[in-house]
């Protein structure tokens, strides 16, 4: 942490992005609780250092694939609040014109190939994206986000095998938040998650997912090496989700104790921790940080208001985009 002062901008951007994610989720949660959001959604709060630590090590041209818990990845890779909230509300100006919603939000302009409602469903896609880079001689790297629960899906082993054989520039980023739905990870994952990657000859790391600087430093290194053709890599990021599995998962004491949640929030919150460090190192004052937080809150509120007032897609859109090149599939 000796270089703190030279990277001021980077640090402040990381902080800002983490707060943007938290703020986005708080608003999304409110929208759900006030019955203004259709369907349900999965909150990323608590895991911000993972998405931000990783995405801040990527260029715009680098790709990510995301999950059902995908808002954090989307924000971290550069998406705008307005198009995101519009998407969550099923509005025409959403990133996917309201057709995808929370579980399918994608932002091609920033290299986000999309959230996925099939657990593990994007592992092939991420590997294929890395395949494209290699085949076309591009130097972009792809990061595949997925949860600890997704390590149970066989697809992961199939594509890790190919990625390893062909040295593809892909980084498998396992967000181990200790639970898949209502089940503890040790009840559904035998052995060791990193050893599984290593068995395919893939270099694997475990890192504290609540420490944005640690995540970022590791990722910077691996991304650089992947660009040079030394990939693939695997990272297990130890983290925690603050909310229920989905927004409606309120009474969850049967599977995890309130005290455990409390402890993570109080002692390991990635934002609080990083904020303390920024102040301590003299990178930002408390006032500057509060101002940043306030600005983000205002941004979010404006985006939510905009999205609430925005219009739904016209019903004629229903059979558009079924096929590229066919305006109305059912015409």
């Amino acid at each position: 942490m000796a270089e703190a002062r030279t990277n001021t901008e980077d640090y402040l951007r990381m902080y800002r992005q983490m707060v943007r994610i938290r703020t986005f989720e708080d608003n999304a949660n409110q929208l759900y609780l006030s019955a203004k959001m259709p369907g349900l959604t999965h909150m990323y709060s608590g895991e911000e250092a993972v998405a931000v630590g990783i995405c801040e090590a990527l260029k715009v041209a680098d790709k990510i694939t995301s999950t059902h818990r995908g808002h954090g990845h989307c924000v971290a890779k550069g998406a705008a609040f307005r198009e995101m909230f519009c998407e969550l509300l099923g509005k025409e100006e959403g990133y996917c014109r309201g057709k995808g919603g929370s579980m399918h939000i994608a932002d091609q302009s920033n290299g986000n190939l999309g959230a996925n409602a099939i657990v593990g469903g994007s592992m092939g896609i991420a590997t294929g994206s890395a395949f494209t880079a290699r085949m076309l001689g591009r130097d972009d790297v792809t990061v595949c986000f997925f949860g600890d629960g997704a390590t149970a899906q066989g697809l992961m082993y199939e594509v890790m095998n190919m990625a390893a054989l062909w040295k593809l520039p892909v980084i498998y980023a396992c967000e181990n938040n200790g639970y898949s739905e209502y089940t503890r990870t040790d009840e559904i994952a035998a052995g060791s998650i990193t050893a599984r990657a290593e068995a395919f000859g893939i270099e694997a790391h475990q890192v504290d997912g609540q420490d944005v600087l640690a995540v970022n430093a590791l990722t910077q290194d691996l991304v650089a090496r992947a660009r040079r053709g030394e990939g693939p890599f695997f990272i297990e990021l130890m983290t925690y989700r603050y909310h229920g599995h989905h927004v409606g998962d309120i009474n969850r004491e049967y599977y995890r104790a309130k005290a455990e949640e409390q402890e993570w929030k109080e002692t390991r919150d990635p934002i609080t921790r990083f904020r303390g460090w920024l102040v301590e190192e003299g990178i930002a004052s408390e006032d500057e940080i509060e101002a940043m937080n306030e600005e983000i809150r205002a941004d979010a509120k404006a985006a939510v208001d905009y999205a609430l007032a925005a219009k739904y897609p016209d019903t004629s859109e229903v059979d558009m985009h079924v096929y590229k090149g066919v305006t109305h599939a059912l015409a």
Partner: protein, 331 residues
């Protein structure tokens, strides 16, 4: 008669069959303490323990395959597939293995398993959590396919399925879990291959599956007020299909609409319509009409999703036109 929800009906069916036959067990994701996200299985693990209500990792192909092997060797697994959309993940084990084993072994091996899953859109769950995929499995010889349309059928068909010596796929409509219907106390068994005439009528036959039975009944209500008497039939199982009952009604009313929530093209409405056309041709005053879900991935936006599935008004309007003798198409 007492009324219970479809969810309770399923729960009762499982509990009764598990008490009756100790080789019956449940396997799937979060089926034990959590009782599934839909809470349909609540309480079962308390009675039967985790040896018979088995939580799995998120590995649908894996636990489906495991169930096939278990069924071949003396148990009766009831597989819980959280969303019907995940059928795509288990197709190999279901269709290449379970469906064919009895035949390929010349009748020596049997696979008495039940795959419980669901169908139905309009929950704002978007394209990967809203599909009605029963047509896919209905196409594969060796599988039986049941589509309960109320709590009564949910109980009676599930109990029959568990006692059947063949692989049975049963689709519950996830929007109906809280719908109540009269279900007698005591044993309820509904044989496969017996359609249910829900309402008698002379002017037109409405054949509906699953939740579309309700839609047809509502349409019949609308029509009745206008003096058109619709007969409403629920096939209850599409494999085996009770052709005799459908044909008898078609011959009586001379006009038929088949309503289903699967995509219309290459789905089950085509099969049912084709059989009726083929075998009641000379009795028909108009072509058999079909109303399925729109041939588009299910959109997230409420503004779009609601128009993708058949409605009572839509069915009634088509029925009116058929009865009035309007040729719907320039045939």
């Amino acid at each position: 008669m007492r009324e219970i929800t479809l969810s309770q009906a399923v729960n009762e069916a499982l509990a009764e069959e598990m008490r009756r036959d100790e080789t019956v067990f449940i396997i799937g994701e979060d089926v034990a303490e959590a009782g599934t996200p839909f809470k349909v299985l609540s309480g079962l693990v308390e009675e039967f323990g985790t040896a018979r209500v088995v939580d799995t990792p998120i590995a649908e192909p894996g636990f489906m395959g495991l169930a096939v092997g278990a069924a071949m060797t003396g148990t009766r697994p009831v597989v819980d597939l959280m969303f019907g959309d995940f059928l795509f993940l288990v197709m190999d084990q279901l269709c290449n293995q379970a469906a064919k084993t009895h035949y390929m072994s010349g009748g020596k091996l049997t696979v008495p398993l039940v795959l419980r899953t669901n169908l139905g859109a309009t929950r704002r769950s978007a394209a990967q959590h809203s599909q009605s995929l029963h047509a896919l499995v209905a196409h594969i010889p060796g599988l039986k396919v049941a589509l309960p349309s109320s709590a009564l059928e949910a109980k009676g068909l599930l109990k029959t399925a568990i006692r059947d010596d063949n692989p049975v796929v049963i689709f519950e409509d996830k929007l109906m879990y809280n719908d109540k219907a009269p279900v007698p106390e005591g044993e309820v068994l509904i044989p496969f291959g017996q359609a249910n005439v829900k309402r008698e009528g002379r002017d037109i036959t409405l054949i509906g599956t699953s939740s579309m039975v309700q839609v047809c009944e509502a349409a019949a209500g609308i029509l009745s007020a206008e003096g058109i008497e619709a007969e409403v039939i629920d096939p209850r199982t599409i494999v085996p299909l009770d052709e005799a009952t459908l044909l008898a009604s078609a011959r009586k009313t001379s006009r038929v609409i088949v309503v289903d929530e699967g995509h219309q093209s290459y789905g089950i409405t085509g099969e049912i319509a084709a059989r009726i056309n083929e075998r009641a041709f000379y009795h028909l005053d108009a072509p058999v009409l079909r109303m399925g879900a729109m041939d588009v991935p299910v959109p997230f936006s409420p503004a779009l999703e609601d128009i993708t599935v058949p409605t009572p008004e839509g069915v009634a309007e088509n029925a009116r036109r058929l009865v009035r003798g309007e040729m719907i198409h320039a045939a």
